[in-house]
């Protein structure tokens, strides 16, 4: 009790609790200002203002340019088809693997998640090697077998782009729906059966409506990603003059050699792209207005499996064929081409060599690119993990007055295409503000990654914090812990698994990233993705394939570590 005697000294203590909350809140705002607000404002400013004057001519010029309009139209068309088909395909396979008695489910589920891990532009490279309109291996083979005068399939087309993006993006819907189906209370379906509905009616009237929120969340992910996607359309479209907005932005900037004029045009195009994304999001919201159903429980349950009977074998064959087409074929293709002595030679053993590998590892650029990628991915992962948790904590637990603003700012970059973000970062950090110039350094890529991936870790930590009941922290306070101690002793250990998974949610995509870094890299700061891309661009296709194979191996190793690491932490 003697401690309490000095109450007059404690009078000032009145503000301390608020102080800690205030400091954290202020910190969040400052971080988001630097990472998000400044780049976004820079784009808008530079698109509409020229040398300090309001000057919309650049924007209107870009908007009325027929080439740009065609690119916009392509972007919309590709995104529409990829989203529509991806949703259908993803939902179908999710149901098949989640609810039917098809064999080898575990293995197939793992395989279906593979496209999610791999960089789509590697897939595009593989398909380009196979089905290129002029020199694709498969095309040449088909032409010689059937004596055709022209290639039967041309992957360098809108359809080809849609196909390749589709094969990499349908897992978004697949994974969401599979987990929703698993968490769904099976009695809901059983009740419908008992009430006299047949199997198909149950699927149509009960199962599907219940997983609509999951479908719509996955579809949204596909839509945003596809609208902003750079890799596939750039690899498959450039040779045929097919542009989308992200590739157009890249083309405009690289054509002018990264001059300020080029970047300004890019900024104007970026605004077009942002408008397209915003409109698409609004339409999507209208079309798939999702309710959330409490009937989907958090717990995992054992659902009743539907017997496929006679359809089992054909459906199994369909699954295997799909997996073969989207997983095996591109992987094998990349690997085989990486062994070939020169691009264009037939893929036969006598043409194989390991020289491509020794050559890429002899080049300092390759080692640098791997090191750069590891550095920015790990740094961005760790920084985002803490920043995201900080913001999530402020939004969920401190709940300051501006928490809505914080939330919006931290998820805004999530719907901003990577290309747009890159331009914003260039405009903001090449000497215009406080003379800070990060251009051509690795830091500018890091800053862009922070903005791009912040929302990943924030969402992950946010969901975990919701599970931590306020009384746990309050109990610590009453036990004599300061606010900071209650945070480090109780809250952080409890959400550590979510923080770790937040880190890997950032690390893995950052490792294979190409969209943002292609605009930001400097002579010594190529990332792994950029290095593969530029090797291919320079015509060194077998070497690009070799480095691609190396990237795949790195990703597989990292992914295995992740699964092992997160498995160990399950008990916490």
């Amino acid at each position: 009790m003697k401690r309490f005697r000095q109450n007059r000294d404690l009078a000032a203590v009145d503000g301390v609790h608020f102080g800690m909350g205030g400091i954290l809140t202020g910190l969040c705002f400052i971080l988001l200002l630097i990472v998000v607000v400044i780049p976004v404002v820079s784009i808008i400013y530079n698109a509409f203002f020229y040398q300090g004057h309001f000057d919309p001519t650049l924007f209107t010029e870009q908007l009325t340019d027929p080439g740009n309009l065609a690119a916009m139209w392509n972007t919309v068309k590709i995104a529409f088809w990829v989203t529509l088909l991806g949703t259908i395909v993803g939902t179908f396979y999710a149901w098949l693997l989640g609810r039917s008695d098809i064999p080898a489910k575990g293995l197939m589920r793992a395989l279906f998640n593979i496209p999610y891990m791999f960089p789509p532009f590697l897939g595009a490279m593989a398909w380009d090697l196979l089905l290129n309109g002029r020199s694709g291996y498969l095309n040449k083979f088909l032409m010689s077998v059937f004596h055709l005068s022209s290639a039967p399939v041309n992957i360098n087309s809108l359809g080809g782009i849609v196909f390749v993006e589709l094969s990499y993006y349908f897992p978004f819907v697949f994974m969401q729906v599979v987990s929703a189906l698993e968490r769904m209370d099976p009695t809901l379906e059983e009740c419908a059966r008992i009430a006299g509905a047949n199997q198909l009616t149950v699927i149509r009237k009960i199962t599907l409506p219940l997983v609509v929120p999951a479908i719509s969340a996955g579809a949204l992910l596909i839509l945003i990603t596809s609208l902003a996607h750079f890799g596939v359309p750039s690899i498959l479209g450039f040779s045929q003059g097919i542009y989308t907005l992200p590739t157009k932005i890249y083309a405009v900037i690289s054509r002018t050699g990264g001059s300020f004029e080029g970047i300004r045009s890019g900024a104007a195009l970026s605004i077009m792209l942002v408008i397209v994304v915003a409109v698409a999001l609004m339409i999507q919201k209208k079309v798939l207005s999702s309710g959330s159903y409490d009937i989907i429980k958090g717990k995992s349950m054992r659902p009743t499996l539907i017997k496929l009977r006679g359809a089992k074998l054909p459906l199994l064959f369909l699954c295997v064929a799909t997996l073969f087409l989207i997983v095996i074929v591109p992987l094998v293709m990349i690997f085989l081409v990486s062994l070939v002595k020169a691009y264009g030679l037939p893929l036969t053993p006598e043409n194989f060599t390991l020289k491509n590998y020794s050559r890429i590892f002899a080049a300092s650029g390759t080692i640098d690119s791997i090191r750069n990628s590891l550095f920015v991915s790990i740094t961005a992962g760790i920084l985002c993990m803490f920043m995201g948790t900080l913001i999530a904590y402020v939004v969920q637990k401190i709940r300051p007055r501006g928490k809505g603003v914080l939330e919006i700012l931290s998820v805004l970059p999530y719907s901003l295409p990577g290309t747009v973000l890159a331009i914003g970062v260039i405009l903001a950090w090449s000497g215009n503000i406080l003379g800070i110039s990060l251009y051509n350094t690795i830091w500018i890529i890091l800053v862009a990654y922070l903005a791009r991936y912040l929302s990943f870790s924030m969402k992950s930590s946010s969901a975990a914090l919701l599970q931590v009941h306020p009384s746990l922290e309050e109990a610590a306070r009453t036990c004599g812990a300061s606010h900071m101690q209650s945070l480090t002793d109780i809250t952080l250990p409890l959400i550590r698994p979510a923080m770790v998974s937040g880190f890997f949610l950032i690390f893995l995509p950052a490792m294979r990233e190409v969209t943002t870094s292609i605009l930001l890299y400097g002579p010594y700061t190529r990332t792994l993705g950029v290095q593969i891309y530029s090797l291919r661009d320079a015509g060194m296709i077998p070497q690009a394939a070799a480095l691609g194979s190396v990237a795949i191996v790195i990703i597989i190793i990292c992914n295995t570590i992740v699964t092992q690491a997160t498995k160990d932490r399950k008990g916490v």
Binding site: L10, H17, S471, E474, T478, S482, D489
Partner: protein, 364 residues
């Protein structure tokens, strides 16, 4: 040992006033049960005492120490108040073992290691949890987690412990057992306890004194359990603390009549002197189910609609001039005087009735 004094405490969420100049004293070493319906501000009051909520006005004293005063700008931070708390959801930290949970308050107060081990052991012994020292909370049942929470609240040797609905999540049998144990632990430790509940039954079993809180956040009666049951201060207490029947009363020149919905029954009840002034809203008579007895000769006629045998008593639902009354007759009496059959008509007499101002009839 210390008493707790709330003086003139006001608290509101936005424009919603929870506590309005609230005052209450908890005597040193007693268990005071704060009983009130959900949402009346019980928990808010406890959080003010703990320092988790900051009142707008008033002062809080523990012993002779002021831990909060709005006018003198004193607000001892939560972590320095040394008040134990047992939350409704236990709030046992799931990533720490039982021992680590209980040791935490001591660690934060920089108690030497050897002493921590000793005191943790004692606290765990007090709640009979010594054999679970190294278990994680997920390996314990609800009742066991509850005990860990109590041990954690006790271990700091604070003078005061707050229990916020600590047994609501347990099943009936365990509840009873926990109440006994809480009582026992409190006897041993001599801690002053503020026990918050909406369940008057557990309050009766546990408390030294009870404070009844009205939905508007004011205390309408403080007293021993006998006081509250036998001499309820107002209609709210009478209704809240048990099952009750209310019948409107007509007073015509000293002649009383029970005005049931469809009929009036002349009644020989005695109106106390202070109630003689006819209240503008009229009068009601309140009577507990077990204070109504069957008397075939009484002019107050009822028809038995339903009777339920509950083991220790019979529960009757009877029709009294269009109103439903509830009557309880203990099994011993029933075997002596016979069970009234459903559908039969008989008379009743009211014992231990009390008069209250009539409530505005809400359409039922």
């Amino acid at each position: 040992m210390a008493n707790v004094v709330f003086k003139d405490i006001s608290f509101r969420y936005g424009s919603h006033v929870i506590l309005d100049h609230f005052s209450l004293e908890i005597k040193s070493g007693e268990i005071l049960c704060l009983v009130g319906p959900s949402g009346c501000g019980k928990t808010t009051l406890a959080r003010c005492l703990l320092g988790l909520n900051r009142p707008e006005t008033g002062e809080i004293y523990v012993g002779d120490t002021c831990i909060f005063s709005a006018s003198r700008r004193i607000n001892v931070p939560v972590e320095r108040r040394n008040i134990g708390i047992v939350f409704q959801d236990y709030a046992v930290w799931p990533h720490l073992t039982v021992k680590e949970n209980v040791a935490y308050p001591l660690k934060k107060r920089r108690v030497p290691k050897a002493e921590i081990a000793d005191r943790v052991e004692k606290a765990l012994a007090m709640v009979n949890m010594t054999e679970y020292t190294n278990h994680l909370p997920s390996q314990l049942s609800g009742g066991q987690q509850q005990r860990v929470a109590i041990a954690r609240a006790l271990v700091g040797d604070g003078d005061i412990m707050v229990m916020d609905e600590p047994i609501t999540n347990l099943d009936a049998k365990l509840r009873e057992q926990m109440l006994d144990e809480i009582r026992e632990i409190q006897r041993k430790s001599g801690t002053t306890v503020l026990y918050i509940t909406h369940d008057q039954q557990s309050a009766l079993q546990l408390c030294d004194r009870m404070a009844i809180m009205e939905p508007d956040g004011s205390v309408c009666q403080i007293g021993t359990d006998e006081d509250i049951i036998l001499r309820p201060a107002n209609r709210f207490t009478f209704e809240f603390i048990g099952v009750s029947n209310f019948i409107p009363v007509k007073n015509e020149n000293g002649k009383l009549a029970l005005a049931a919905k469809e009929r009036e029954f002349p009644w020989d009840g005695v109106l106390p002197a202070e109630m003689k002034m006819a209240l503008p809203s009229g009068l009601s008579v309140g009577v507990r189910p077990n204070d109504i007895v069957f008397d075939p000769d009484s002019p107050l006629r009822v028809t038995v609609r339903r009777s339920v045998f509950l083991g220790s008593e019979y529960d009757y639902f009877v029709d009294f001039g269009g109103m439903e009354l509830r009557i309880q007759q203990n099994t011993l009496d029933s075997s002596k005087y016979g069970v009234i059959k459903e559908g039969s008509e008989t008379g009743i007499r009211l014992l231990n009735y009390r008069f209250y101002p009539a409530k505005k009839e809400v359409s039922s």
